[in-house]
Symmetry: C2
């Protein structure tokens, strides 16, 4: 990027450098984004910079489910119209967003913030697993969680994490379910991998 | 995006919304970028926001070539070691960056800021064409431009713009050249379109 210093103003090369640090943004994309911003009026620039600075203070994890919040608990845990007896376990907040966008789930969540991955040195203590187990135990009878939906990703790490949770909790009367595995809607059978097809067959239901 | 307001803090949804306004950044990418920024420390957040705000003031077009600058003329026009008698015409500053990165060109530039495109209502008056023609005329004999390299894009709009400039200037003694068209290096002949192959044949040179 030093190259550009010879023919562009420093503030422009600074911006390109900062944008290029973002994930999935390479040098070329950073240039395009920077030149897009250069064409914007001051108000729009201020709004973007303000939104970035706005997350600096006050965003932390919900004490209940580890979603993001600026309060003690998040908007979902704080919502009395949601079913607090069904807890859906997800790997991160992006998964929670994806599930919420289906408008199919009215329970609450538990965000693990990762998946077990020995190769990356991620063990049970690095995830919000103890918090999950505590949460399931400490409830009094009226608030007792009845169903735990394991919506971990369906890759190796996600499966391992789901298995770990299942092993730890089985036999204590909790209904533990796993999201269905199979053909994605609109998928082509001859492009699907054999494991997906195996799961799709195994999990077949009445037509 | 209203959907997210139900379960995420407002400052996070604000940031996602602002990021999603950037070109090539969709809703999903905006979410990923926002969660990346949420994991950064304050110092990095400040640097990014600062770089964005940094372009607000003082960046304008070079009076000579319409590259970006914070001074009267840009770093290239201001450089006495560059050959001011060879002017390379480009569509935008990104093209200038691409050419500079080759380290092959020691002349100066003229940035048109677009290409002729009647379908998009872009005519000669919308580009820095008059400025180019004035620039070529007004020089006294010592500084006279000798070669004009047309490095407009090789798409229809770029070709039309190059043709327009050539028509306007031919016969006034200026050496007008066009960048070579042909096979890109590393290209596969059977994947190239016929027009590219035609140009590659037509422009063939001694081996």
């Amino acid at each position: 990027m030093d190259l550009n210093n010879r023919f562009l103003p420093e503030c422009v090369t600074d911006l390109i450098e900062e944008l290029a640090k973002l994930p999935t943004v390479g040098k070329k994309s950073a240039q395009r984004l920077a030149f897009h911003l250069l064409r914007q009026d001051d108000e729009k620039i201020d709004k973007l910079a303000g939104a970035i600075l706005g997350i600096k203070d006050g965003v932390h994890f919900c004490e209940e489910c580890f979603n993001l919040t600026t309060e003690r608990v998040c908007k979902i845990c704080d919502n009395p119209s949601r079913n607090h007896k069904t807890v859906c376990v997800v790997e991160d907040v992006l998964d929670l967003i994806a599930l919420e966008s289906t408008m199919e789930f009215n329970g609450v969540y538990h965000v693990l913030h990762g998946a077990l991955s020995p190769l990356d040195n991620v063990g049970p203590d690095d995830l919000k697993l103890h918090e999950l187990f505590n949460r399931l135990e400490s409830k009094d009878e009226a608030d007792k969680v009845e169903e735990l939906i394991l919506a971990n990703n369906t890759n190796t790490e996600g499966e391992a994490t789901a298995l770990y949770i299942h092993e730890h909790l089985k036999g204590n009367g909790l209904n533990i379910t796993r999201i269905a595995s199979g053909m994605p809607v609109g998928g082509d059978l001859d492009y699907a991998d054999s494991l997906t097809l195996k799961r799709a067959l195994k999990g077949r239901g009445e037509f």
